[in-house]
């Protein structure tokens, strides 16, 4: 039987129902007003990526441990890896020791960056906001878009801001890319418009 004969032989009500079903299905697929896509309270989502403070994983963790760090929580950060933790202080010690950095620098960084949360003291003066200002200057903390976190991190590890007696490793305290390379907006949503 060819298609024309099949259609001719099919009761009109059945065809109408099929067409109706098709329209309903099409409408459902294209309905962007139904914003609940993916809202299935029975589905379990497993964490595959994590980030708190900038540079903690990228700088202090060897590449082989980045996946581990991504699948853990801040509460795991002070636990040794033998106890299924990420051992942020231990990773900092291993990295900084390789560059001969002092015990004071190592212990300070470990206490400030673990657990790995971006700390915010929102009742402090907004003008004092900036990465790690809560630890360095009793400030607001957090992380502003204009913060040169690379230089701050490099200076903390390779400079003498955390230990005046520590030698400064020339050439490693700045990547020489200043915040002025960006022009952030003072109003919401703050980030620059997309590049072409």
């Amino acid at each position: 039987m060819n298609f024309t004969r099949l259609v001719a032989a099919t009761p009109k009500r059945a065809i109408a129902s099929l067409i109706s079903l098709g329209l309903v299905a099409t409408a459902a697929c294209n309905d962007n007003s139904a914003l609940l896509t993916g809202v299935n309270t029975n589905r379990q989502y497993v964490q595959i990526e994590r980030l708190g403070n900038p540079l903690v994983s990228e700088v202090f963790f060897p590449k082989r441990d980045h996946g581990l760090d991504n699948t853990k929580s801040p509460i795991d950060d002070t636990q040794p890896m033998t106890n299924r933790g990420t051992d942020v202080p231990g990773h900092i010690r291993a990295f900084a020791s390789a560059f001969g950095r002092s015990e004071k620098i190592i212990t300070t960084l470990g206490s400030v960056l673990a657990p790995d949360e971006l700390l915010v003291f929102p009742n402090r003066a907004p003008a004092t906001a900036g990465w790690l200002t809560w630890a360095l200057a009793n400030g607001y903390g957090g992380r502003k878009l204009t913060d040169d976190v690379v230089d701050t991190g490099l200076t903390a590890v390779f400079g003498n801001i955390l230990d005046p007696a520590a030698p400064v490793i020339a050439g490693l305290t700045s990547d020489n890319v200043p915040p002025s390379v960006r022009s952030f907006s003072p109003s919401f949503p703050y980030l620059e418009s997309p590049r072409p």
Partner: protein
Amino acid sequence: MRNRYLTRGRYLSILFAAGVAASVGGIGTLLASDHQDTPEVELNPRMDINDVYAFPGSSPDRVALVLTTSSPIAGQTASFDPDLLYQIKIDNGGDANEDLVFQITFNNGVGSAQQVRVVGPIPPPAGPGTVSTLSNTTPVVEGAVNSILGSATGVQVFAGLRADPFFIDLEQFFNIIPDRRPSTGVLSTQTGPAQSSFRNPGVDTLRPFNCLAIVIELPKAQLISSSTSTDAKFGVWATISR
């Protein structure tokens, strides 16, 4: 205009080409941060959290939270992954566990046709930890990406394409710490002698590229209750789950 996500290989090909062009022009060499920190997110950029920010909002009683993902993006068309759960987590109890979460999900629209749904801040529906479930709580904001949603006095949200805000000389970073190199692409192998210091001036590697950003601004009282103590604090981190 060719608009698409770049795989690491494509990204680095363009960077290489841009570097050659820049060198010819006498500008210098452009080459390629938690950007692309594992092989899995190199292959799936929408699973990659690039950066997290938290800073004072439009008034002293407000806080802005930012999550960026998917960098580097060349061009202006990109979409969030509708199968992923993006979360910004808040620890206001000081025990290194999340007490509040924002759950951000997207439908399967493409580009500016995509819709965002934001729930929170709410206690984590499945409790703290690395396994999450979605809340069926009424969203605080939902609507189109690439637009400002919500209220300037309540919860305000932007989700969409922006220029990548992170600045770093990434190529030189990899030359100093080769272990952190990506697994594939030009920068996966040493292209010059190992370096022991940064160059001056440095190269703003991510300058040409875009990212997908989620920006949430809200009254700080929603994160630390009504405490006025200058020692009141909260910790922030972001996660992506699938």
